[in-house]
């Protein structure tokens, strides 16, 4: 075991564990195809987001954008909010999260425990109301600092400097890296690092495909691609539906004992696809994928039990990754 001066110093350095039971069987004499899971749920607040949250805060401090006692404004109810809440507490900032009032109780309780303040926007007002609330708050408090993870280079840089080197150190024979595509920070940072160091590495994205309600954009022109996204870093990109994500999430805990959130199920689905292709092609493969967080925060969805169809219904219209 290692000793750390504080919780912030214990970020990263997560274990990479083999999945001997989920790795595909190869014919006798064929090169091995192995799956490896990077357990990012072992970070201080239980998700991979601790890496970018800490990095972005430190960068903002270095650049003089954040000074002791400042307020950080983050319109997120997800893992980044929880990570920022912890970092803000330990570094002496106030964190204000803006979120719709109908998010899960676990999120609200976690954020409050870490000392974040929450401003709810009325669920009845819909998403436009949430945006209006956030805009109003920003207008009223021009001194509050927003880190904006979708366009903050520090998000990707955190992974370039930590996740990438850790993977290469623990698995010098790595052939594939598979992670989820949201802000794109994990794939951009880790992907760039591994591309520089490993010939012919494949960088594979698993993108959650939600229920239809989530895609209720009014116009194609109103879509959004995060500023951080650079398609040239990726080799392939899979869209993984709710049912496949739930199936793999359950398989991961049943077969290998790893209890993860649904985004990890989507990532595993893509990892298995490339692993089976390697078997078919008779190629050696060491496929490393990200376990983004544990399953604890998602138990209240009910999607860990019952039939797959029940689980799909339970997650319909939710942003499960």
């Amino acid at each position: 075991m290692t000793r750390y001066e504080s919780l912030l110093d214990a970020c990263g350095g997560t274990p990479l564990v083999g999945l001997p039971r989920l790795s595909p069987t190869v014919p006798a004499g064929a090169p091995p195809v192995r799956l490896w899971a990077k357990l990012e749920d072992r970070n201080p607040t239980g998700s991979i987001k601790d890496r970018p949250a800490m990095f972005m805060v430190r960068e903002a401090e270095r650049a003089g954008r954040l000074r002791p006692g400042d307020t950080i404004l983050e319109p997120t109810s997800g893992n980044t909010g929880i990570s920022l809440a912890m970092v803000a507490k330990l570094r002496g900032y106030r964190l204000v999260c803006v979120m719709p009032e109908n998010v899960s109780a676990e999120r609200v309780q976690l954020l409050r425990m870490y000392g974040a303040e929450i401003i709810f926007s009325p669920a009845a007002g819909g998403s436009n109301q949430a945006v209006a609330t956030a805009k109003q708050i920003a207008a009223e408090h021009p001194d509050w600092v927003m880190l904006y993870q979708y366009g903050n280079a520090g998000n990707a840089q955190a992974h370039y400097e930590t996740t990438g080197p850790e993977l290469l150190h623990d698995l010098p024979t790595i052939t594939h890296f598979v992670a989820g595509l949201g802000t794109t920070g994990t794939l951009m940072g880790t992907g760039r690092y591994l591309r520089e160091k490993v010939d012919e590495i494949e960088i594979v994205a698993a993108e959650p495909r939600y229920g239809e309600l989530v895609y209720g954009l009014r116009n194609i022109d109103e879509g959004y691609v995060p500023e951080l996204y650079d398609a040239s870093v990726l080799t392939r990109r899979f869209s993984v539906g709710t049912r496949d994500a739930v199936l793999r999430t359950r398989q991961l805990v049943e077969v290998e004992g790893i209890f993860a959130g649904f985004s990890t199920g989507a990532i595993l689905h893509a990892a298995l696809a490339v692993a089976h292709e390697a078997v078919k092609a008779g190629r050696r493969a060491d496929v490393a994928f990200v376990v983004a967080d544990g399953g604890w925060k998602y138990l209240s969805t009910g999607a860990y039990g019952g039939t797959l169809a029940d689980a799909e219904d339970a997650l319909d219209g939710q942003l499960w990754a």
Binding site: N102, G125, V131, P142, Y215, E222, Y224, V225, F238, G317
Partner: protein, 135 residues
């Protein structure tokens, strides 16, 4: 050659409300031309005048993004499933609100909801230009 094509909600006005349609073609380009013959105007929503896939459209063949398979030249086989989706980022509420504050108007208008109730509101509310909050 039959290809199953899944149409997103926002493009169903072109398919008479159909969620799934059938088309044919040896490549995505051929398929979209074939579909445009039956559902006039659909191709124009997906492909730019320069002949590239629209930036905010993602097209998948059997769940894999065609941009990594040759884009419009991606090959198709009988029985393939093609899915068309608008681009949204993960943690969509966060991005939308963040974008609104920073001033990405298009993204702000593309807010997606956390619940059926919130999502049901999309398309009914008014979308104020986000640029007023830019700073």
């Amino acid at each position: 050659m039959a290809i199953e094509v899944r149409i997103p909600t926002i493009l169903r006005s072109y398919t008479g409300g159909a969620k799934v349609v059938e088309g044919s073609g040896d490549s995505i380009n051929d398929l979209l031309s074939d579909l445009d013959g039956k559902y006039s105007g659909l191709r124009g929503r997906l492909v730019t005048e320069q002949g590239a896939l629209h930036r905010f459209v993602n097209v998948y063949v059997n769940d894999e993004d065609v941009r990594f398979l040759g884009a419009l030249d991606a090959k198709l086989s009988d029985g393939d499933t093609v899915t068309i989706l608008p681009a949204v980022a993960g943690g969509a509420f966060g991005f939308a609100a963040a974008a609104a504050i920073i001033g990405h108007g298009a993204a702000a208008a593309a807010v997606v909801g956390h619940s059926a109730a919130a999502s049901a509101m999309i398309g009914h509310g008014t979308s104020a230009p986000a640029s007023s909050a830019a700073r």
